[in-house]
Amino acid sequence: MAKDELKTGYRLIGTRPDRPDGLDKVTGRARYGADITAPGMLHAAVVRSPHAHARIIKIDASKALALPGVKAVITRADFPTGLTGEDWNLQENTMAGDVALYDGHAVAAVAATTKLLAQDAALLIEVEYEILPHVTDVDAAMAPGAPAIRPGSADPSVPEGMHPNVIRYIDFGHGDLAAGFAAADLVREATYKTEATHQGYIEPHACLGQMGADGRGEMWVCTQGQWYIRRMSAAVLGIEAANLRVTPSEIGGGFGGKTTIFMEPLSLALSKKAGGRPVKLVMSRSEVFRATGPTASTSMDVKIGMKKDGTITAGQVYFRMQGGAFPGMSPISEALQCAFACYDVPALKHEAVEVLANRPKAAAYRAPGSPMAAFAVESMVDELCRELGLDPIATRLKNAARNGSKSSFGPSYNQIGLVESLEAARAHPNYAAPLGPNQGRGVASGFWMNHGGETSVSLAIGEDGTVGVMVGTPDVGGSRASLALMTAETLGIPYENVRVNIVETGALGVNEPTHGSRATFASGKAAVEAARQAIGEMCRRAAAEWGIDADAVEWKDGAAHPAGPNAGKFPPLTIAEIGASMGSTGGPISGHHESVPGGVGASFGAHVVDVEVDPETGRTTVLRYLVVQDAGRAIHPAYVEGQYQGGAVQGIGWALNEEYVYGTDGRLQNSIFLDYRVPVASDLPMIDTVIVEVPNPGHPYGVRGVGETGITPPLPAMASAIAAATGARLRSLPMSPPKVLAAIRAKGRG
C-alpha cells in the first residue's frame, strides 16, 4: 500500500502549525479588495442592462455629469477598437458595445467623489434600448427558432445544420462502441440536467485602479491571478502590460471565479478620464450574481452498458453546455475528459457542444465541467448498480482506473490513488452505518487532472537567517502555510522562520493564477528548487570560509557541515551565521526558480453520503458525509481537510438548492443570498475526511493538487442517496424540495 512508499521522517511536512494569515483575519487587520484606499480616491458605480438582450440605441449622461462631484462617465466609446478573439470578448463583457447580451451587462460607468453620489449619478444616466428576443436555457438556445445571439461566431468544428448558437463541437473516444454495448447485459440511457451555480465567494469583487494620461497604471485588486488581471486589462485598454502594475489583496474566496476580469478595466478607464485620480469599484452581491461568471448550465445524454458482474463494457456521452453569451467559457473539453476518467472502459465515445445563451460570461468554478459530467455518468453507474443489485464501491473497484491504465481521454495514468480511495471509503464506519426509514446512502467517485502552469518564485535569506519567499499565486486555501512548511523542511529551519509573501506583478516573472489546484504543487515545487539553489550558495560560502571544495560541504539541520571526515573538522555554519556575514562573503543570498513544472499528479476521490428525505415535503437532510481523496502528500493536513470539506459543501449546495432562476423576461430572479440558497452551517453535519496519500512522483514531497476533486462526487452521490431514500431518481439539479416531492408523487402514480 502507498504508505510504505512514503519517505518518512519529515520534520515539518504533515504537521498542522498555526496559519500565517490567521491573526490578521480574525482581528480584521487583513486587507481585502474593498479595504484598499488612496489619497484623492473616487468611487465608481456601474450602469447595467436590465434586459437579457437589447440593442443600445442611445446613452445620455448629461444629467449625471451635471451633478457636482461627478468626475467622469465612460461608455464603450472610451475603449480602443479593433480587438479580436478573446481580447474582444473580454472587452465586450467589460462594457457592452452595440448590444447588451444579458441582464446585468455593463453599459456605462461613473466616478464621483462619494459612493452615494456615484450611485445617484448612475441612476441619472439614461439608456435607450431596443429589446431583442432572448434565450437562457441551453436546450432552448439550440432549438430551431431560438434567437441567434452572435451569428457567425461558430467554430469550424460545428457540424453543418446546427443552430448558430452552437459555436464549438468536440468529440473523441476509443474502442468498438457497438461491440461494447452488445457485450453488456444491461444498457441504459438517460438525459441529465444541471443549472448554473455561482462560486459564492464571500468577498465581492473589488479593486482600486489608477491610470494617468501617460498610460501608466496601478491596480490593487482581489484576484486569484495578478498577471491575468494585468494581461487582460492591458488588452482591453490597449496599453502595454509592463505599464500596469497589479497588486493582489487578501482574498475572500475565488473558486475559479476570480481568474479573469469583470470590472477592473472600468476603474482604470474612469481614472484616466478623471485626470488620474484613483477610482475604487466594489461590486454589490447582486452585481456579483448578475455580472460575474457562474458556471455553465448543462443538458447531458449518457448511455452505459454493464455486465451482470458489474463490468462496464461501453459508455457514450453527449453534453450540451451554455456558458453565457461568450464563446470559450463552457468547460466542454474538461467535462468530457473527466466523464469516464475514473473507469477503464474498452469502448467510449465522447461528444459535446458549446452553446451561447443570454446569460453572463461563465468563469471557472472549482474543477470546471467535472461535477456536471460526474452527475451524469456517476448517476447512471449507480442506476445500473441498483438495477443489477451490485455494490457501488465494488463495481467502481472492478472498473477502476489504475496505475498504468490508459485514461479515458488518452494519456496513461502514472501513480494514482483511485483504488486506495475507494478501498478507504469501503472500510470507513460510515459505509456500514445503519440506516432508518426514509434514509438512503449514495456513493460516487471523482477526478480532476490538476495543473502545472507558468511559475516563478524567489527566495531571499535575511541577515538573521530567516527567509522570505516571494510567490505569485494568491493564497486562497492555505498555500502560504504549505509553502512555508516545504521551504522550512528543505532548509532545515523552523516553520516560523519563513514568511511567504504574495507579490505584485513587478516582482516576479509571469505566474498563472491560483487555479487548477496548482499553488501548492507548482509554487511549492519552485520554492523547494529556489531553496535548494540558496542552499548551494550557502554551501559555497561555507566552503570558501573553510577553504575546502564546495562539493565537500553538505547541508543539514539548517547549517553547512563538512561532508565527511575527509572534508576537514569545522564546526557547522548555521544559516543565521551565513546570513549575518553575507555582506562580506559575496553579497545577498537568494534563490530563484521559474518553469512550467511537469509531473502534475491527478487527484481521485470517493464520497459516501447518507441522507434522510421527508416524504411529505421532499426536504433532504444530510445525516453524514464522508470525503476520501488522494492528496499525494498532505503538507498541512488541516488545510487539506478544509479543501475536502469545502468542496463537498459546495457540491451539496449545487445538488440541493443552488440555481440561477431566470424569469420569462430573461432577468435573474434570485441575485441575493436570501434566494440563492447556499447551505448554511446548520444545514450540514461535520464533513468526515480521510486523506489518502499515494505520493506524486512528480513533486519533491509528493504533492498533488487537492482543491478541486472534492466538488465532483457530491452531485451524483446526493442524487443516488435521495434515490435510495425515496425510490425516486432525480436527473435534474437542483434537487430542491418541490422537485423531490414531485418525483416521489410521480413514482407513486407510476
Binding site: 450611485q119 441612476l123 411529505e616 415535503t617 421532499g618 426536504r619 440541493l656 438548492n657 432562476v661 430572479q669 434570485n670 443570498f673 436570501l674 434566494d675 440558497r677 447551505p679 448554511v680 446548520s682 444545514d683 430542491s736 424540495p737 418541490p738 416531492l741 414531485a742
Partner: protein, 288 residues
C-alpha cells in the same frame, strides 16, 4: 430625507399626517434600512418611534393578556419566560425571523407592517387572536391582526396612522399554540409555506381553535374551516385529515423563485397538521 424622533404616538401620527412624500416608520429597521440601502425606497420622512415611552415594554394586561411595545425585539420576546410559556407559537414564529443579529432589532409590528404574506410572526399572532392599537390623527382604535395586511407590501393603515402596541389575549387554561414554516434550509431563509395553530383543550377535546396560514395567498390568512375541522375532536386521524384538506383548500398560492404553487398547496396541509399536533401536546402540558 427628514429624520424625526417623536416623543409620543400622537406626535408621530401628526408628523406622518402632515408628510406629503414617502414616509416610513423606523423601529428595528431590519426592513426599512435594508430597503433604503438597497435603493428600493428613499423616504422623505423617516419617523423613528423608538424614543416614545413604553415602546420597549412587555406588560401584563388587567385581564391576564400581554401588551407588547412596538420596539420590543425578537430576542427580548424569546427571553421572556412567562410570555413564552403563554404563547410559545407566537414567539417561535417571531424568533425564526432573520439571524441572531437581526433578532436583536426586529419587531413584531415591523414584521406585520412589512406586509409580506411570508412573514413568520404573523400567522402565530393571527391564530392567537392578537390585536394591535392603531393610532392616527383621529385617535386610537383596536384592530385584529388579520385585518392589517391587505396584499403583498400593503396594509390597511391610512396616511398618518401608526401601530402603537400589540395585545395578546389572556391565555387561560388548556391552551396551546404552535407555528411551523417550510424552508429548504435550516435558517436564514423566507418561509415557502407557514402554518400556525392555536387551540384550547378541555377534557381531551378541542373546544376552541384558530388556524392561520402563511405564504399561500396575497396575505397571511385565517382559515375558519381548518379550525372547524378540529374543534370538538380529540385530534384523531380523521380530524387531522379534515384539517389537512381544509388547509389545502384554503391555500391559493403562486409559483415563484421560492417554490411552486402545487408544492405550497400540498405542504401547507402537512404543516397545519404537524403544527396542530404540537399545539395539542402543548395544550395538554405534554410539550413545551
Amino acid at each position: 430625507m427628514r429624520y424625526h424622533t417623536p416623543k409620543s404616538f400622537d406626535e408621530a401620527a401628526a408628523i406622518a399626517a402632515k408628510a406629503d412624500g414617502k414616509t416610513r416608520f423606523l423601529a428595528g429597521g431590519t426592513d426599512v434600512l435594508v430597503q433604503l440601502r438597497a435603493g428600493m425606497v428613499t423616504p422623505d420622512d423617516l419617523i423613528d418611534i423608538k424614543h416614545i415611552a413604553g415602546v420597549s415594554d412587555i406588560a401584563r394586561t388587567a385581564d391576564g393578556g400581554w401588551r407588547i411595545g412596538v420596539a420590543v425585539s425578537g430576542a427580548e420576546l424569546g427571553r421572556h419566560a412567562a410570555l413564552c410559556a403563554d404563547w410559545p407559537g407566537v414567539i417561535e414564529g417571531m424568533n425564526l425571523v432573520g439571524s441572531t443579529q437581526v433578532q436583536g432589532r426586529a419587531t413584531l409590528v415591523g414584521n406585520l407592517c412589512n406586509g409580506s404574506p411570508a412573514a413568520d410572526s404573523v400567522p402565530g399572532l393571527i391564530a392567537a387572536g392578537a390585536t394591535v392599537t392603531v393610532t392616527g390623527p383621529k385617535g386610537s382604535r383596536e384592530v385584529a391582526v388579520e385585518a392589517i395586511p391587505t396584499g403583498p407590501g400593503k396594509t390597511v393603515l391610512a396616511a398618518g396612522e401608526v401601530i402603537s402596541a400589540v395585545t395578546l389575549p389572556a391565555r387561560g387554561t388548556g391552551g396551546g399554540d404552535a407555528y411551523l414554516r417550510f424552508i429548504p434550509r435550516t435558517e436564514m431563509d423566507i418561509a415557502v409555506v407557514g402554518a400556525a395553530v392555536n387551540l384550547r383543550v378541555v377534557g381531551g377535546r378541542i373546544t376552541e381553535a384558530r388556524v392561520a396560514l402563511g405564504a399561500v395567498a396575497p396575505t397571511v390568512i385565517l382559515v375558519p374551516e381548518a379550525a372547524a375541522a378540529i374543534i370538538g375532536t380529540d385530534l384523531n386521524d380523521a380530524a387531522l385529515a379534515a384539517l389537512t384538506a381544509a388547509a389545502e383548500a384554503a391555500a391559493k398560492p403562486i409559483s415563484d423563485k421560492r417554490g411552486t404553487a402545487a408544492f405550497r398547496k400540498e405542504v401547507v396541509g402537512v404543516l397545519a397538521r404537524r403544527a396542530a399536533l404540537i399545539a395539542f401536546a402543548r395544550a395538554k402540558g405534554e410539550a413545551k
